[in-house]
């Protein structure tokens, strides 16, 4: 009989991790100065990686072997939130073992979700102001230039408001870019003048919007400069179309599915608004100065505007239907509330417009002074209401539409794992900042009920170099649950459930889950 089988014994020999400092899942008040991994025998580290709450990873190089433990000095500036430390070591027998554990500094979770929670009020105010200025520029500026050449007969005496509006709009476009960038990186207003904020802004969907809207402003300005000719008309028209196109490139509505309806709907809605709003100030100026062309302008406008309004309402209806979804969302969500306010303002607007059209237009065309002065006042009122509507619509920047709230709730994925002895249905619920909870139902083979002694979940992300992280599941009435996982990286994670059917019988069920960013 063989007395000594070194190879046979060495083949089974692995080190194992006894404990860590901070312990797995702990929340510590301040960033730890040293992190310890204590094994049952001396090991040498081959790879140590720290994934931070913002999902970036750094290798940990400052490590010392002290007896059975590894002492790691982490980088000095650890953020608050949950960190994942992934380790891979070689035990004395040469066999590698690996694992991961999490600890949180200050509070558990990731950095706040990207709804500008870090940026603060000044950035939000900047975003809103920039957007309103942009709307003023597009609708009073580009729209105004369109109206000059298509409604009021090229009367450039009315161009002053449009020019001012174009200036405001251009400034608004630039401001929007800067604040959007700040919002995207979650920084405060102090960094407004750093290049990174502007580059970040350009990188968002607002970047192309701003580029195209500036093209639109340029076209409108060129149209004004080039005088009364045919080119001016077409440039003005191109300006409107470019501006409408630019707004269809960004925003909640444009991004919503079905894209083939939503983007054109935004385009048409914006174009129609530009046609309507743009005409208000030039018409008002012509009426006030008792210009002889006022009557013709009014005529042209009132003939054309019903079509524009029809397109406006149809496109707007489509957008509202997709974005709001259910009538209850009107009162239960912030988006819905903003929509209701806009709706109220729209009703006021349409009442004014109807009064203008059916009570005052004909009489003003005939030259009745009382009608004309009334019309001027009501058009001024329309203008004011429109500006209010712009302010309200700009607030939508800060409210997610109900359709996206629904899809956030629906971020549950159900995965079925199987082994010869058992099957498991795992519901993966994803929250913010990488927080994941698992709900597990275990059944025996052929669907019989199974009451395991213990269930452990093991998750790893080998592609990102994250070693397995273990959590014991808690038994609840409906099955088993792992309530407080933090998986700080998006992508494909391997999930394994170690189900202890009896004390002496373990079965492992393997599968994969997708963690969305």
């Amino acid at each position: 009989m063989l007395l000594w089988l070194p190879l046979a014994t060495a083949a089974f020999a692995h080190a194992s991790l006894n404990s860590t400092e901070p312990p797995d899942g702990a929340v510590v008040a301040a960033a730890p100065g040293v992190i310890r991994l204590i094994f049952n025998e001396p090991v040498s580290p081959t790879s140590l990686k720290l994934t931070k709450p913002d999902r970036s990873s750094v290798p940990l190089e400052d490590v010392v072997v002290k007896g059975n433990a590894l002492e790691i000095t982490p980088p000095a500036d650890l953020q608050t939130g949950t960190h994942l430390l992934s380790w891979r070591v070689v035990s004395e027998d040469g066999h590698p073992i690996g694992g991961s554990f999490v600890f949180s500094v200050g509070h558990a979770g990731g950095p706040p979700p990207d709804t500008a929670a870090d940026s603060g009020w000044p950035v939000w105010a900047g975003l809103w102001t920039g957007k309103v200025m942009l709307y003023l520029g597009i609708f009073f500026g580009i729209g105004g230039v369109f109206a000059i050449f298509w409604f009021v007969g090229g009367d450039t005496a009315t161009r002053k408001p449009s020019l001012i509006a174009l200036g405001i709009g251009s400034a608004g476009a630039l401001i929007s870019l800067g604040f959007q960038g700040l919002d995207a990186v979650g920084e405060g207003i102090s960094l407004l003048f750093s290049g990174s904020a502007w580059r970040a802004g350009l990188g968002t969907s607002l970047g192309p919007t701003v580029i195209f809207v500036c093209v639109g402003f340029a076209l409108a300005a060129l149209a004004l400069l080039s005088g009364k000719g045919r080119e001016a008309r077409w440039m003005a028209l191109s300006g409107v179309l470019t501006a409408a196109f630019s707004l269809s490139l960004s925003g909640h509505a444009s991004a919503a599915p079905p894209q083939w309806i939503m983007r054109p709907a935004v385009f048409l809605h914006v174009a129609a608004i530009a046609v309507w709003v743009g005409a208000l100030l030039p018409l008002m100026l012509q009426l006030r100065t008792k210009s002889p062309e006022a009557a013709d302008s009014l005529q042209r406008f009132s003939v054309f505007i019903p079509f524009a309004v029809l397109v406006l309402i149809a496109a707007g209806g489509v957008l509202a239907y997709v974005q709001v979804g259910t009538p209850s969302a009107l009162v239960t969500t912030a988006y819905g509330t903003v929509f209701l306010i806009k709706l109220v303002l729209l009703v006021v607007l349409f009442v004014l417009a109807a009064a203008n059209r059916w009570r005052l237009t004909q009489r003003s065309r005939r030259g009745e002074p009382k009608a004309i002065s009334m019309l001027v006042r009501l058009v001024a009122a329309e203008t004011l209401v429109m500006v209010l509507i712009f302010g309200v619509a700009a607030a939508w920047r800060f409210t997610p539409p109900p359709r996206s709230l629904v899809s956030q709730v629906q971020r549950n994925v159900v995965v079925r794992l199987q082994s010869p002895e058992a099957a498991a249905d795992v519901t993966v619920r994803q929250g913010d900042g990488g927080a994941v909870s698992l709900s597990i139902k275990i059944t025996g083979k052929d669907g019989q009920p199974l009451d395991p002694v213990e269930v452990t979940a093991v998750l790893a992300n080998p592609q990102a170099g994250v070693e397995p992280i273990r959590r014991k599941a808690e038994k609840i009435e409906a099955g088993w649950t792992v309530p407080d996982l933090v998986l700080p990286l998006a992508g494909r994670w391997s999930l394994r459930l170690d189900v202890l059917i009896t004390d002496f019988d373990i079965t492992r069920l393997e599968g994969e889950i997708e963690i969305r960013p």
Binding site: H14, N18, S19, E92, G94, F504
Partner: protein
Amino acid sequence: MFKTIIVATTIAACSSAAAFAHVTLEGKEAPVGSTYKVVLRVPHGCEGKPTQVVRVQMPEGFYGVKPQPKAGWTLETVKGPYEKAYDNHGSKVSEGVKQVVWSGGNLPDDQYDEFVFRGTIAADLKPGEMMYFPVVQECPDGAKERWIEIPAAGQKAPDLELPAPGLKLIHAAN
């Protein structure tokens, strides 16, 4: 760090039983039909905690089990039916010890001990096959180490995380 790995690998290559975490058997092979003494080697506790209970499950085909008492530990056995009857010195046995439990002891993580029991390997088992003895170590605060996985077809014991100690069956000695 590189140097440490070299040193570590050299130590590993030279030493054999120096550092191992799994519960294993001292003897690796046994003839079928023989009475055999199983020695379980327990080198570690659970994550550094001392071992206080050791439980072994007897595989089917290992009968007539008699465990060896250990000073400082309480020895108990759990009896149950066998799947078939075995011949024990002429009489048929269809039930016997299915589980052996040593409890109430305290084996610190930095100490080593062996747990011994004796039994008969059924003569009609096939030589070349493996016989596995699943072991559970229980430590304070509910910590447990389980060496209970049996390789499926195509798997080898070193592939498993928690391999049960295994005994290779060989031809009966004549």
